[in-house]
Amino acid sequence: MTMLKRTVLGLTAAALAGAGALAVESDDPIIIPTHNWSSQIVMSHVVGGIFEEMGYTVDYVSTDSQAVYEAVRLGDVTLEMEVWEGAFGVAFEEALAKGGIVDVGDHPAVTREEWWYPAYVAEICPGLPDWQALNACAEKFAAPETAPKGRFLGGPVDWLKHDAERIEALGMDFVVVNAGSAAALWAELSAAEKRQQPIVLFNWTPNFIEALYPGAFVEFPAYFEGCKDDPSKGPNPDMTYDCGNPADGYLKKAAWDGMEAKWPGAFAALKKIEFTNAQIAEMAKLVDVDELEPDEAAEAWMEENEAVWRPWTE
């Protein structure tokens, strides 16, 4: 036991020495959650790398991307680098209302979630990306169980994208089939692409899939205030959801509310850290196209972009 204690003390001393001037800061590791998509993992490792450069210790823990807000609130993990308006806005707002989590500002990157098709589909269905053109060739997207209506492959039901409501409000000849996970979406997309089959599915940006499969979002009637709760507005006077998703959703950073007191330097840096769509796509590409592992990709990115991140640490 004493042996162990001594080792721990030794390590602590070493960590303190490393931290140098930041003596008031806690030596506990900053815990950064990683999820199951590449850009988030790389970005988390980049941020972790920046903190390590500043003398902190960092631990990574893999968590569910919905459940993570509860973990941030309780301080089990310290921060969250990618709060998507569309996907996690609700979970984040809920956690914010309960307390324990703080909003650390937006990335310049904007997010968009919408119906999407791979590029070759534009030849099969002329007139895309307009939604009415898509609807005109609905039958080409039909599956045996949906025929003669087209099949739209939606995300998991609990992402609450209201695709069925939109189909009804806009009078489209489509049926929503919900995949159970993002992996299921990509599996179908990749198989369809190999066969050059028509497919329209739920997708978002920034996302690694853009680097692998070129494609475009379907353009629905633009999002407007009240589309989701005021039936009288929009092209269909009797129904809600007669519009597309917002094309410029936020991408936020969030942190545990105890972070500022415990690691003030890191918190100050986190406030400054921000990424653009291009940078996020680059991070994803390192993993998904160049086949690096996420931690290696983060290292590579930091080596290339020292001019970008160095000022954040000061």
């Binding site: 042996m3 080792t7 199951n36 893999s62 968590t63 045996p144 159970g180 993002a182 190999k194």
Partner: protein, 656 residues
Amino acid sequence: MTAAPDTAPARPGGLPLPARPIAFALFCLALTLIVTAAALPAAAMRPPDWMVLPMADWINVTFAFVHEDLGLTVLTRAFADLVAGLLDITDNLLAGGRGGLGLPQIPWAAMAISGFMLGYGLKDWKLGALAGGTFTWLAVFGQWQWGMETLALIAVAAPLSVVLGFLLGWAAWRRPWVEAMLMPLLNIAQSLPHFAYLIPVVVFFGVGDHAGAIATVIFATPPMIRLTVLGLRRVAPEVVESGKMSGATRWQLMRYVRVPTARAEMLVGVNQVIMQCLAMVVIASFIGAPGLGYKLLQYLQGLKIGKAVEIGISVVLIAVMLDRLSRAWAELQPVHHERGTPWWKRNRLLLVWLGLMAAVAAASGLHDWVAEIPRRKAASTAFLWDPIVDWLAVEAYPYTNALRGWLLIHILIPLRDAYLAAPWTAVLALVAGIGWNVGGARSAAVCAGFVLFVAVSGWWDRAMITAYMVSVAVALAVAIGLPLGIWMARSERSARRMLLICDTFQTFPSFIYLIPVIMLFGVNDVAAIGAVVIYGAVPVIRYTIEGLLGVPPALKEAVDMSGGTRRQRLWSLELPMALPHMMVGLNQTVMFSLFMVIIAAFIGTQDLGQEMMRALSSNDVGKGLVLGLCVAFIGLMVDHLANTWAAKRRRALGLG
């Protein structure tokens, strides 16, 4: 699982009378309810709202009370700290984590050599090659870090499960009331889907590697408890008597008489614990366990199927290695040296091992690769797997597409509608009838009780969809597995080869099956059921082979001698004799299918599994447990029926 009413042979000159009139009456009732469904009141069709009990709320309130007011947090925190502390040590040694003892990571070459020596010492050079080869594979294919993270977790979770299982088993053996309390809990725990465990673990222990380890411990302990009880109970009274006569105290009796005598069962328990730990590798990564499971999910998410398959192979290799090593350890007999053998002769292997370790330590100074092979220099078989997947997605597609369309429109969708349309009262009567037919009033009550729980849980429709998918999958698994098993059992050699394939498929992380089935069939029920069948057919094949091989050779010879053909021998002797054992396989298939159907929610289903995923991402303990219990009770019902039937049948066949 046909529900044909059991009729007695016709009496001479009379009509056949049902042998079990009450079962028959229940079947008639079920049939009447189905036929008159249109005229039934709504409450007989769907469990009405007033019947649904807010069980999820009760559980949540209880959890909150236990968690916050009762101060159980102190206990759970202490346990979590213990696990986290142990993990720091193993993670430090194996995976080079920064906590623990602060020692450098053990080089892969040292692990590989130790593995070889251990295998050689426990059994023979073949086992040594397996163990050494597994470590080498991990290192050469660039998975060393993740493999060791997984191993570090197992190195904590498995011993903890063994100790916990032994203590609980021992308590259950000593005190009947402990056993009476523990056994029903174990039954439920072993049929709860893995995901149902995760939510309470997250609530009590948070996320991270310690949470993953704790979930693994909870999952892996039950078999150890069972086998400890079994082993202690089997100790012959004569042995205990002789211990008492030598004046042993109660502790000595336990330590030197009972436990050594029950060693075989307990070591089987240890083996089971290890296998269960590996089954949790991927699932534990949902709540923060690092290692192979986490990487596997990441690769699947990024559509890197070749790399995911490689990780799957690593998991299988580690499982097979630990399985064989622990079995060899169980079978190892103590070696007795002659008096006066010098110590270096007695510890020859140990000395050789020490020498080799010193050599590795020296060599790792010469070349970095002895300590760690850089990931980018590592070999990969991904180039092998990706074309196979491409071929499946493109060349096989016309056939799979036709099959999918036909299955969906002519079989699956009508069947699903039928399951959903069946009045719940009819299902209740039908199940009670089957219960009565198989095991009389008691079985009828047990089965009806399980169905009633599902009815009052509020998840009736979801449960019916689960039941529909599982019954189709089980039917397909039997249709494929039974003939395959019979065919493979024709010779000892092919049987052994098939059993090895079964082992592999069973330990292969089932998540990997999800992606190819989507590529073949698209997101729909065919893909989900396909994934379930791949996993669920394994027990049917295994138990068919084992059952057929277990038929006494003397009986087979008797048939041959009386001039029976092979076909006659199979149909009139072997299959009837093997049937009870095959029934256990069918039971296992149902269990496996229930577990897998939950995982198939990742493809996209509308059953209990989908709701369970939602409960997991919203940390809803009550909902998750109620859903888990629905799944568990469907499984326990089939389990009860299959076991009752098989026991009766065995008695009739004089198989004990």
